[in-house]
């Protein structure tokens, strides 16, 4: 394999692995804050203790994921320099900005208040402890924002100029932060993180009910998970996914054509629900297509012409076309399934039948890995769709890597990361599984305090 390919796999592997953790922590941070808020607001001591204990439980799971998120995030930050030095040298003045802001504005916030959330409950008041949960949420969501601003600039460069020595310079700070692409991508991505959080919480609830263990918490988790799940799954498709797709069709027609497998420009373009793209013959094998829908989704009329790959020079086609096509279809397919599942669960919850509907608890339990797959597939769509550009339309991926780091060296560190991360995965599974099996502690009333305080035994 050549150096470029190895550097790409290096980045793709490490970032995909890293993002497995933040997607859960960002989603959970919101849910933990909501649970703390419910506990703070209620007058019913039993309910308060239940929600407090539930948030303690999820904060422990959060902590495990957070640490892995941190240790796998640091390599990302360094990798721009180690493996993509030419890209960093030329665009560092632009993308270094949001990356540095992420460190300064969100990581300090997140780590400081996570310490308080985990260890400080006895040292600070209930209100302050809820505030700590909010700050952790805020920190992780700000972090997500700055990262997305970085990625969005690569997808859709704005507010820059190129200096005589080839280096990029920001022309407008607010222009960079207000990149419309970033806000669309952010909305869609954060909603995707909430889906992961909601599915994990709901699946744990379903597990407890199926095992007939910690049932009180099983019901609570299921309720919180399903309500958050409905909101996020719907938002994922409409408006966020829809808007993002429309915006892309205008600015990255090559990526959209690749995602949809549209080789030829067509008025009234069909949407291909399934099929296998054949790049040589420029067709889709075994297509399952619905006429005119794609034109409608993108332009709102069934007759509009959608630009196909034939209008784009072949050297600007996304390089891994079939993978792009599948990634996109996996994401969108799973998105439709999630919305369906959560709406059915929500309906039963409303009718008061969910907790006994074992036939539905099983799919809820088994679906917890799927949001991870959908989020990963979504990112593969975004990043493969951007190819062959590193900075869309401006700098090719082949210009950006570290030319003096040979393929042997890159393979060495890639294998090292593969090894390290395999071990991390095993440890993660053991830790999370143990924590879930132990479950939240059963609440015990402690009359010793100021009348209405409950502590755990």
């Amino acid at each position: 394999m050549d150096a470029l390919t190895l550097h790409r796999i290096h980045f793709a592997f490490t970032i995909t692995y890293h993002y497995l953790f933040p997607q859960l922590t960002m989603g959970l941070a919101l849910l933990i804050f909501i649970m703390k808020l419910i506990a703070l607001r209620t007058d019913d001591p039993a309910k308060r203790e239940r929600y407090d204990e539930a948030s303690r439980f999820w904060a422990r799971i959060f902590a495990v994921n957070f640490v892995i998120g941190v240790v796998t995030g640091i390599p990302m930050e360094f990798q721009f320099g180690t493996n993509w030095s030419e890209f960093s040298r030329r665009t560092g003045g632009v993308i270094g900005q949001p990356l540095a802001m992420e460190g300064v504005f969100s990581f300090f916030l997140e780590s400081a208040f996570l310490g308080l959330l985990l260890f400080g409950e006895k040292r600070i008041s209930r209100k302050l402890h809820t505030l700590a949960a909010f700050m952790v949420f805020l920190g992780s969501w700000i972090s997500g924002f700055f990262i997305i601003v970085t990625d969005a600039w690569m997808q859709h460069p704005v507010a820059y100029k190129i200096l005589p020595n080839g280096v990029y310079e920001v022309t407008s700070f607010w222009g960079l932060l207000m990149n419309p692409w970033a806000w669309l991508q952010y909305a869609h991505n954060m909603s995707g993180a909430v889906i992961t959080g909601a599915f994990v919480v709901a699946a744990t609830g379903a597990l407890y009910l199926l095992q007939r263990k910690h049932e009180e918490y099983g019901r609570l988790f299921l309720k919180v998970g399903v309500i958050a799940g409905i909101a996020s799954c719907v938002a994922q498709i409409f408006p966020t996914g829809d808007l993002h797709g429309k915006y892309m069709a205008r600015h990255q027609p090559a990526a959209v054509a690749g995602m949809e497998g549209l080789f030829h420009s067509t008025p009234g373009a069909p949407i291909v629900l399934m099929g296998q793209p054949d790049v040589e013959r420029q067709t889709i094998d075994n297509p399952l297509a619905v006429n005119k829908v794609l034109s409608f989704l993108i332009y709102g009329t069934t007759s509009a012409e959608v630009k196909g790959l034939d209008q784009i020079p072949q050297d600007q086609w996304p390089s891994a076309l079939p993978l792009l096509f599948y990634s996109y279809h996996i994401m969108a397919g799973l998105g439709t399934y999630f919305a369906g599942l959560m709406i059915i669960a929500g309906f039963l919850l409303w009718r008061g039948q969910l907790y006994n509907a074992r036939w539905l608890l099983w799919p809820i339990l088994l679906s917890f890995p799927l949001p991870y797959i959908a989020n990963t597939a979504g990112w593969m769509t975004a990043e493969l769709g951007r190819q062959p550009w590193l900075v869309y339309g401006l700098m090719r991926t082949s210009e950006g890597y570290s030319k003096h780091i040979g393929p042997g060296t890159s393979l060495f560190t890639l294998l090292g990361f593969l090894g390290m991360y395999s071990v991390l995965s095993i440890l993660w599974i053991v830790m999370v599984y143990t924590a879930i099996q132990k479950g939240p502690k059963a609440p015990v009333v402690d009359a010793g305090h100021d009348g209405h305080t409950l502590t755990t035994a």
Partner: protein
């Protein structure tokens, strides 16, 4: 503008070394001074709530370096490819060891994580010291401002250096001992009982070694990088840094003798900070010296990002770092004082 950013980045990385230094130091001396399970929990408890926040100074410092000096970031990170990647792996091992130990109740696994915690901390300290020594000694920059360093060549400084040579190994050793002492003084400050006694006793033994290695590093630096004194000669204020090094060593010695835990730890913070500031002052205005024949040293002006970028950056950076300092101080204040004798450890 470039000078401001030079000192901003230097200050952030210095703060990282001072803060995460004691986490690493605790790791280095952990097996030595914390003998019982109770002591090990206490040691972990002393760093538990803060180590992650301390590590953020490295991330934020690295990020700031990236945007303020893209050329320096690109050149040095890719040039130090192998050692940096190893540092990343060690940071993974260190972080996971702390976290996992808190989650395990099986004594076999606990001793495994104790060992990985101690090992990764020690090697990290050595690598950080060696890395700094590499920057001081200089690297074989090519005409395109890039370089690539193998881990070792012939162990000599000069035009064909490796990451490790006699000078950088000395730097690594000095860092390991100094950071170990820093950790000992932190443990003494944060704990009571046996752990406190043992940490103080070991700190007393470490101090002379630190002093001797520090002294040895002066002629070594002049040999490895003959022009390193130029800036000192041009700017008299730079001499403050080595002066502070001496003062802080004396301060540690007196405080240790009198049993002043706070002052001893402060002395050690000052020592580490003055050493690093001293090194930065010796480099300025160069950020990456060249030892090769092809390329010139990279200076602040060459490496600095575009003018608009750095001007706007100063505004948000100032604002953000004030917030960060507030959080940091708050957390330290809330977890101030000694770790309770019967701490439940850093478990959640």
């Amino acid at each position: 503008m470039g000078t401001i950013w030079f000192w901003i980045v230097a200050a952030m990385l210095t703060l990282y070394v001072v803060l995460d230094g004691f986490d690493l130091g605790v790791g280095i001396v952990y097996l030595l001074v914390a003998r019982t399970e109770q002591d090990r929990r206490k040691a972990m408890h002393a760093i538990g709530p803060v180590w992650d926040g301390n590590e953020v100074w490295l991330i934020a410092g690295g990020g700031t370096l990236f945007f303020a000096f893209p050329l320096l970031y690109a050149s040095s990170f890719s040039g130090f490819y192998l050692p940096l990647t190893i540092v990343l792996w060690l940071l993974i091992v260190r972080g996971m060891s702390i976290e996992l130990r808190a989650h395990t109740h099986d004594s076999v696994f606990m001793s495994l994580f104790d060992a990985t915690f101690a090992f990764s901390s020690l090697v990290l300290a050595i690598f950080f010291g060696a890395a700094l020594a590499n920057v001081i000694r200089g690297v074989p920059l090519g005409a395109d401002d890039y370089f690539f360093l193998p881990l070792w060549t012939n162990w000599r400084t000069g035009p064909n250096p490796g990451i490790l040579d006699w000078y950088t190994v000395l730097g690594g050793l000095l860092a390991a001992v100094a950071i170990a002492m820093h950790g000992l003084l932190y443990l003494a400050l944060k704990t009571t009982g046996d752990l406190n006694t043992r940490s103080t006793a070991w700190a007393k033994k470490a101090l002379p070694v630190v002093a001797i290695l520090t002294l040895a590093s002066v002629p070594a630096t002049v040999i490895a990088r003959p022009d390193s004194l130029i800036h000192y000669q041009e700017h008299g204020v730079a001499w403050l840094a080595p002066a502070m090094v001496v003062v802080s060593l004396v301060m540690i010695a007196i405080s240790l003798a009198r049993g002043w835990e706070w002052r001893a730890f402060l002395g050690s913070c000052t020592y580490l900070a003055s050493m690093l500031v001293g090194a930065a002052a010796g480099l300025y205005p160069v950020v990456l010296p060249s030892v090769g024949t092809e390329g010139k040293s990279i200076t602040i002006d060459e490496a600095l990002a575009g003018p608009h970028t750095v001007r706007v950056g100063l505004v948000w950076w100032t604002f953000g770092i004030l917030l960060a300092l507030i959080y940091t101080v708050t957390v330290y204040w809330l977890f101030r004082g000694k770790v309770p004798e019967h701490s439940e450890g850093y478990g959640h």
